[in-house]
Symmetry: C2
């Protein structure tokens, strides 16, 4: 398939070698209780233990390490108010280059503080897509900075795919890999990893019903849009891009949509039973599995717990 030529098997292996010194090889965990509850053999890839608290570190680090020397000297810029903002700030700091992060003026203070804590330089913009993009373009022009998209970028997708690659290196006999779907960077990278390194391993996504553009895009074959971004899974509010959708059309079997209360219930189960902190987005695949548990009984499922960055003052329970 033509889409595979953009990211080949060796690209994933090379990427993991490149970023390995700068990221954590996160552990896999299991839960007897959750296996009994679901009738499924689940292994959780704990990207909540990743540096900066989420898988986004992989893609950001890879993109930064792939810059030319000249690009490094001019720095990088992105627009994000989520984990990618922090990941790019920390990645840039790690290699000693400048990072400008365009964030809406109404972004939560805790997120701005986190970006500053990792050494990022915040440029505020109005809280709309147009202002976000023009502000990022201005920084590109003024400083010659390289723009890095949070997910619609082959280097970023390849980086995120190393989570799936590591998982399959540790657990080669998975029937299914499940991941949450926002912009599609994580799941398209992991789907390629399953395709190249799995043994008949399928890839299935989980997505909040209220922002189900990915499920509709897989059905229609073109980029669909959402009419709202109001989901507790704040990492999944974005829509697919023109680089992630084609990979997903080729390699993601399907997407299971879940309701908000199912996300909260799955998140609570993980906290209570596994004693680990995952953010709502990270609990979406478990919610998806539990919603359609009949389809997974007896299967061996690798599940990406995508991140653990939550505001403890604003928990849903």
């Amino acid at each position: 398939m033509k889409v595979d030529s953009m990211i080949e098997k060796q690209d994933l292996l090379d990427c993991l070698d490149r970023i390995a010194p700068f990221i954590h090889r996160t552990p896999v965990m299991t839960s007897r209780t959750l296996n009994e509850m679901t009738g499924t053999d689940i292994v959780f890839k704990c990207e909540n233990f990743q540096r900066m608290g989420a898988f986004k570190m992989r893609g950001a680090m890879n993109a930064v390490l792939c810059l030319s020397e000249e690009q490094r000297q001019r720095g990088v810029v992105t627009h994000s108010s989520g984990n990618f903002a922090q990941a790019l700030a920390l990645s840039a700091k790690t290699v000693g280059i400048k990072a400008w992060i365009v964030m809406p003026s109404d972004a939560p203070l805790v997120k701005k503080d986190a970006v500053r804590g990792y050494g990022g330089d915040i440029i505020e913009c109005d809280p709309d897509v147009r202002s976000r993009e023009t502000t990022a373009e201005r920084v590109q022009k003024e400083h010659g900075a390289t723009f890095l998209h949070p997910f619609n970028d082959y280097q970023v997708i390849t980086g995120q795919g190393t989570a799936g690659l590591e998982l399959l290196q540790d657990q080669p006999d998975l029937d299914v890999i499940m991941a949450p779907v926002g912009g599609g960077g994580l799941i398209s990278g992991c789907a390629l990893a399953a395709h190249y390194f799995g043994n008949g391993c399928r890839t299935i996504g989980g997505e909040p019903s209220v922002v189900d553009d990915a499920a509709r895009s897989l059905a229609s074959g073109r980029l669909e849009t959402n009419t709202t971004a109001v989901t507790i899974a704040d990492g999944l509010r974005t829509q697919l891009g023109d680089k992630t959708l084609p990979i997903m059309l080729s390699h993601v079997e399907r997407i299971i949509c879940v309701e908000e209360d199912e996300i909260v219930a799955a998140m609570r189960l993980i906290w209570e039973r596994m004693k680990i902190v995952v953010e709502p987005s990270g609990a979406v695949p478990l919610a998806a599995l539990m919603r359609e548990r009949g389809a997974f009984i007896g299967k061996r499922v690798g599940m990406i717990l995508s991140g653990g960055n939550v505001d403890l003052s604003r928990l849903p329970f």
Copy 2:
């Protein structure tokens, strides 16, 4: 020292062999951020990932496995409304024997449900010490059940000590082991492990200031009592016993008392930075280290994260 003859080096090794098939060998975790914040090299022994969610599983399992065949047939009884209640219920279920758990009638429903979930048979009593003890005695007489104390028992202390033994097997070069102090079962077991298996490894406890009987007992050399049990660290409300105090007098260097807000702050740090769920009692040693951080700078500290059983509906943040 005479006290050591009650639990010898080989007893700890034999105990670990005995219980190993029935417990998790919990991982050790580190946090770059917490190390930078404290100037200390901390390794966390994650007993929050232990079966049933706390180290209490070790002592309960050991005590149950040390019963004679005749004792097994008659079952076991304890009085506890905390983690030991659940640990004994699950240990008894694991070897197929009966467990009666005496709990006050006003114990939280969530705790009663947990004990029942592990197959324990709850006997309610009035919410005072006298009723608790007479009820436990009645069960002993009626059923011939063996009474197992939550901490003032050499088999239980030895079991808890295996947390320290495993930690030193994984990290032999610790300067200090830190553990929370309630009845003293965990810290006295770990102090013996440090004594037998450490290389000059000292043992230091953390205790809530409002229930500082252990700190006062170490000072006076006799069992002191508390006038309140109102601390957020619900696992540490109990007082030392006549078996734990002598071990602690010989092998615990000192106890650092911490305020309630320091416990909450340390708990929050662990949740936010390490992305793991610990109960308030489990955060007390970190609170103690941070309170007197000057004493630990440059040291290598093994810290027992004692448990992760919290009611998510009643968090302090």
